[in-house]
Symmetry: C2
Subunit: 157 residues, 2 copies
Amino acid sequence: MFVSSKKRVELDDVDKKLMIELLRDARTSLRRLAEEMNVSPATLHNRMNRLIQEGVVRGFVALLDYTKLGYTLTSIIMVKVDGKHIVEFEKEVANSPNVVSVYDVVGDYDVILIAKFRDTEELDTFLKQLLKNPRVERTFTSIVLNTVKEDPRVRII
Amino acid sequence: MFVSSKKRVELDDVDKKLMIELLRDARTSLRRLAEEMNVSPATLHNRMNRLIQEGVVRGFVALLDYTKLGYTLTSIIMVKVDGKHIVEFEKEVANSPNVVSVYDVVGDYDVILIAKFRDTEELDTFLKQLLKNPRVERTFTSIVLNTVKEDPRVRII
DNA sequence: CTTGAAACGGTTTGAGT
DNA sequence: ACTCAAACCGTTTCAAG
């Protein structure tokens, strides 16, 4: 759930190709890919396990269209937090099932959250909870009118 | 790649359980899950295809730890765009492989982008490209110091 | 729309290199 | 660390309910 250690990792062409395929389709067949790459399925299986074990691959997830599930309200919430308690605050807020991202930034605000809700009442409750937290000095919320793109896949290599 | 139609969708308990499992692990075995749920694997297979076909399930992806792949720079870029050209601008910027999210918002800025880069030079080039676009009036960029959470999974139901 | 059963395809293990 | 091959497991199809 949390982003872990920052240490870089060595990847050869087999790892890279495998990751690109798993990014494209996490349910892809290792056997078919192995044939395409002229390695054995067992090799890809080993590589995949190694990548998971090293934490490069954090998991395999379904991408859902949340608007079709009633989560029509996306919000970008900037939070000014009492400097001594930013880390505790971030851990707390990251546990909320509505929060998809928690970023630590510099500037007028300290933390930027992306969170999704089914309606304004859910958002309102969430914001009131935030402001009840004595560590929170102020918040500024932008409501998303339209999600043009939301895809965790960055082109690697 | 783009978020599609907003029409709500009817889901029964089988669909919901299946989606929750696919959110947790996109490579989960339908046979094992079918046994757990007392339905046939063929039913889950049909349901999964229906969910994909309806667009509720947009795809299955590997979640990667981008910091381990050298993408150590996450940025939140707010953009003020000439009102008549927001949609074209958004489509253009959504095509960039560095951009993970594009949100249309109200307020001082019109568009909020989340984008990932390997270094400040990549970010600089990206920002200069943005400002070259005559549709762009101004930008404000926050650099992410620490990504505390980044997980597309919202708790559904 | 669900099922059981079969056919097909995919993953995983382990011995050998 | 990779491969082969076998054993095991999972998916997909389809005829029938």
